[in-house]
Amino acid sequence: MDNQTTIGTIDLKVGLADMLRGGVIMDVTNADQAKIAEDAGAAAVMALERVPADIRKEGGVARMSRINVLEEIMKVVQIPVMAKARIGHFVEAQILEQLGVDYIDESEVLTPADEENHIDKHLFKVPFVCGCRNLGEALRRIGEGAAMMRTKGEAGTGNVVEAVRHMRQVMGDMRRIHHMDSSELMAESKNLQAPYTLVRYVHENGKLPVPNFAAGGVATPADAAMMVQLGAESVFVGSGIFKAGTDMFDVNIEKERKELYKVQGKLAAAIVRAVTHADSPDEVLAAQRDQGAVMHGLDVRSMPDEERLATRGW
């Protein structure tokens, strides 16, 4: 038989996102951390040069990772490897696609390259995940071709409050639209600044056409399980794992680094357990008991708007 083979379709892109449901995606900055994440049961890793907590502290322009770091990480794990590109930086995205990463995160954690436009994600074979704070933002990104969403939260804070706010906002918006009269949908589309066909999809199905994960501030097994119970299909953990315990050990001393990795691996495994069994309080308790060290958090209320990463992109 003559096989008609197609690649890079939206179904294949959403397909991989569905394969990651219920699995934890962990930010890693080197091969050692990638191995720890895989050993802990991560469903994918997000490769980046600095975790959000460090980007926040050190400032400067945060760009796509160095290629050699990405290649090294892609070599040591067999789970999918994601990488971040700056908002609107379609050439960073072209490079990442050429390199063969499995998913691109067009991310507000990096410094935006375009303050008006996001990447036209339909032009790529590789799938994209994007951040959102509300349903309108989610549907605009999906309209541009995103195959997976994540609520933004406030990355690098270890404070789950913004993640909760954004997830509640998206879920609440969807419940409202699901119960609307169908003749109200065009006005709602105008109000949300979102494509009508996607507003209609949410009205008919009560959910997004792609999986929606939570991100930005998840630091403990309890945080992760809470996000799942609020409606997240799963969670991204950024600084939460590899900023945990860093004040207890000196990473420049090999013996201490090994101890640190052990502590971080334990926390990573505990978060995986809490996500898989988010609806079983006995399991979440066991996971929370196992967490060991967690990162210090930042109070988001005292943070000026210009320091908030979530306000990048629209």
Partner: protein
């Protein structure tokens, strides 16, 4: 009929919908007790097909099980911790249907894998991510034995079957590689039959 779906992680919700479409009842399995199964004291016990201690079993035992696509290293790690390896040994031994798709096929089959100790319940070797990375994921039409029209098969970071043991029935091939095989009560696809609206494979596996 009641079918359990391994729901540690992966595409369990889409399989669940496929089964509902053909009138099969579904239960999500994350721990052995979700299948009304008391964690057996040993793998040997499980291999004999000793499914439950009737005093402990509170729930209905599924008639079959799906192990969906996802990440096989995650299944292996969390599955073993919760006694699911033993549950599947017991299921296989008792003649209940086990259906593994993609990562699920890797876990049920054999072969040396990075960070995955396969259960070895069916004598085929698989190679993980054998077609490449996500940009190499594809869908294509394949012919399936007994079906009167082609099936739209979705391959996502799919494995390849690299060796077939004795008496393995091959139900479909793609470019010379087996992609749908069966041995007794155990069925494997390297692609994702749940990802289209064509329910013929779920029908075939669960209602014969």
């Amino acid at each position: 009929m009641l079918v359990g779906i391994l729901a540690i992680q992966g595409d369990y919700a889409t399989h669940s919908k496929a089964l509902s479409d053909i009138g099969v009842e579904v239960v999500e399995i994350r721990r052995a007790e979700d299948a009304g199964f008391a964690n057996p004291s040993s793998a040997k016990d499980a291999r004999k097909g000793n499914l439950v201690d009737p005093d402990i079993a509170l729930k209905k035992i599924p008639d079959g099980m799906i192990i969906p696509g996802g990440e096989s290293s995650t299944f292996d790690l969390l599955g073993r911790r919760y006694g699911l390896d033993k549950l599947f040994y017991a299921f296989a031994a008792s003649g209940k249907t086990l259906f593994g798709t993609c990562a699920g096929a890797i876990w049920l089959g054999k072969g040396e894998h990075h960070k995955v100790k396969s259960l070895g319940l069916i004598d085929v070797d698989l190679e993980r991510n054998a077609y490449g990375r996500q940009v190499d994921s594809f869908n294509t039409q394949i012919d399936i034995k007994g079906f009167d029209s082609p099936f739209d098969a979705v391959f996502i970071r799919a494995p390849k079957i690299t060796r077939l043991g004795k008496d393995i029935e091959v139900l479909a091939e793609y470019k010379g590689d087996p992609v749908f095989v069966r041995w007794k009560n155990i069925w494997l696809t390297t692609f994702h039959p749940e990802r289209t609206n064509d329910r013929r494979i779920h029908q075939l596996v669960f209602s014969g």
